[in-house]
């Protein structure tokens, strides 16, 4: 009851001076908007990272030839001697490996009757789809038999389909890849943008049996038969990724006859690790915004305190009257405290709508799902109300401690 009365008169006081109220709220508005954008970026980026890790699998390791820093210089993946299908089999036979596939990839032009499109062609073994967490949305995957015999069949990604077959109905059609005719047997479920976080489209791909891609698209290696450009494998759930990494490294050192003390001529890449590192950069940005939010809330709070002091002075007579008719100091305190909190909460609501726009914009730029959870809204509003409470207290207490006679005589 008392609070309702106080908020009604507080609201009237704010409305009676709209421009002043708005200007006072500005700091709070900016602060709350920053809080919202900051938290939304944090949540969105985390959700995106989690989704990426989930889509590739957190237990996926990739073996690349070459690589690893040597004398401060990165040799780059693929610069060393390639792996072979025998290496893939050796890894697949390890007890802690759930599935493994060799991958051979290259750029190629795909031509359909409706269009042509430069895309990435991947050759993979039968486990390629399981390892890369691909599912089919239409048609079928190639069989073990087709994989082994190198049949001229391919499964294509959603983006490639839309470029080659704008009108749909791709399954069963024939396309040419580098003038080799192949049949489309399935379409992959879309995974979305930025697979490796490099802005590349994972759905722009054509996957065929490894030997077919080697023989007809990429071409063989002059020195190494049945070569693959990299090996991907999944570590069984519950098995430590780091020790799996060590054991595979040892196996490859043996197989590639690397003398003890000599550096590896291959590298093992943990996809989940890299994604997490990118997340750390996002955290730095979040911290920066948190700082902005804190500063503008502080400045906003001082503004609120200032305007509340002005308001107390302006309404000294009114305070005197209220005291004369029986308001206790506590009643006056609550009235002005409610006014300050209301001012800040109102600013908080405006800030939240701006923050929502900011969060939306950030989500567009960062290409992550827009996320404004109840926690974010609660934090933003809570921050605003707390500022009102903290910075409104001093002016409110000053009003509550006025001498009734002095206040009544004030003009």
């Amino acid at each position: 009851m008392k609070l309702k009365v106080a908020s009604t008169s507080a609201l009237e006081a704010l409305i009676s001076n709209p421009l002043r109220s708005l200007l006072t709220m500005l700091g709070i508005i900016i602060g709350v908007a920053s809080v919202m954008v900051m938290m939304s970026i944090g949540e969105g980026a985390r959700a995106q990272i989690d989704a990426q890790i989930a889509s590739v699998g957190s237990n996926l390791l990739t073996l690349n030839p070459g690589g690893i820093q040597r004398g401060g210089r990165n040799q780059g993946g693929g610069s060393g001697r390639p792996f072979t299908e025998a290496d893939v089999t050796a890894i697949a036979d390890l007890p802690f490996v759930e599935a493994a596939t060799g991958v051979l990839s290259g750029q190629a032009t795909a031509v359909s009757e409706e269009g042509n499109w430069v895309t990435t062609v991947q050759g993979g073994g039968p486990d390629y789809f399981a390892v890369n967490n691909w599912t089919i949305s239409e048609g079928r995957l190639f069989t073990d038999q087709e994989a082994r015999s190198g049949s001229a069949v391919v499964v294509i990604g959603a983006s490639t389909v839309s470029n080659l077959f704008p009108n749909g109905n791709a399954v069963g059609q024939r396309i040419r890849i580098n003038s080799v005719p192949v049949e489309i047997i399935g379409i992959l479920e879309a995974k979305g943008q930025s697979g490796g976080g490099m802005g590349m489209d994972r759905d722009d791909t054509v996957v065929g049996p490894l030997s077919m891609v080697r023989n007809r698209v990429v071409g063989g290696n002059r020195w190494v038969s049945r070569h693959v450009s990299r090996i991907q494998f999944l570590v069984r759930d519950g098995y430590d990724i780091a020790s799996a990494q060590d054991e595979v490294a040892q196996l490859m050192r043996d197989r590639r006859k690397i003398a003890p003390g000599e550096a590896d001529n291959f590298s093992i890449f943990n996809f989940a690790d890299m994604i997490k590192q990118r997340g750390a950069a996002m955290n730095t940005m979040s911290m920066l915004l948190a700082f902005t939010a804190a500063v503008s809330l502080l400045v906003g709070g001082v503004g609120v305190m200032n305007i509340m002091l002005v308001s107390v002075t302006e309404r000294t007579r009114e305070i005197g009257l209220r005291m004369a008719i029986g308001a206790r100091g506590g009643d006056i305190l609550i009235q002005f405290l409610v006014e300050a909190v209301l001012l800040c909460t109102l600013g908080g609501l405006i800030g939240m709508s701006l923050g929502w726009l900011g969060a939306f914009g950030a989500a567009q730029v960062g290409k992550w799902p827009m996320s404004v959870s109840p926690v974010i809204i609660g934090t933003a509003l809570g921050a605003a109300a707390s500022v009102g409470l903290i910075f409104g207290f001093f002016p409110a207490r000053r009003a509550a401690q006025l001498d009734p006679i002095q206040a009544l005589r004030h003009d």
Partner: protein, 247 residues
Amino acid sequence: MNMSSEPSGDLPIISCRDLSKVYRMGDQEVRALNNVSLDIWPGEFVAIMGPSGSGKSSLMNLIGALDRPTSGEMWIKGRELSAMNRDELADLRNETLGFVFQQFNLLSRQDALSNVKLPLRYARREIRDLDARARECLEMVGLGNRMDHRPMQLSGGQQQRVAIARALVNRPSILLADEPTGALDSRTTAEIMQLLVQLSKQGITIVLVTHEADVAAYASRQIHFRDGDIESDSASQRTNLLSEQSS
């Protein structure tokens, strides 16, 4: 209730003993009240008169529990005020006293009804149906048809009626009016004073501060102040008269 101005067998409703109020203005001490003793009885309509600086407003502030005396004691309805803290004084003002000011002191953003309801909002005890009580009081002062008007839409006399309704809404025992007609013309003054006389007849104790003799004439007892002390008191003169007659 005894409506006459003569001391009844009851205790005085307001009682002052040796009240002094000293203000400090720079190096100078201003003695606004100088050992004033005064009893006001239930139902009396008292006018306190005197030139400005005579101490009448200081006394009014003390009776209104808005200020504390420098020395002396003060009872309202048998309660000693110096023993009370700020909150208790606020509650006393809310429950026992009603204030009417020269400048009306209405909240300009709120209509008549809300203004009248204001003291009820600060009441510590539960009051049911605030609206009905406020309406009743506005009707009592003859503004039953102006309840939704804001102060700016009312004449001076009407505003003062709203203020009187506000002072009455908590059913106080004492109504304190500080120059209630000071801002009004003579016709409106007469109307407001008639209203106060009417309220006095209903038993409420009224203490009025004024410097106009014709306004004071409405009261049943006149007390003149000069230089912080009582110069004359019509009640004591009458008491003296009575005692002279009886002797």
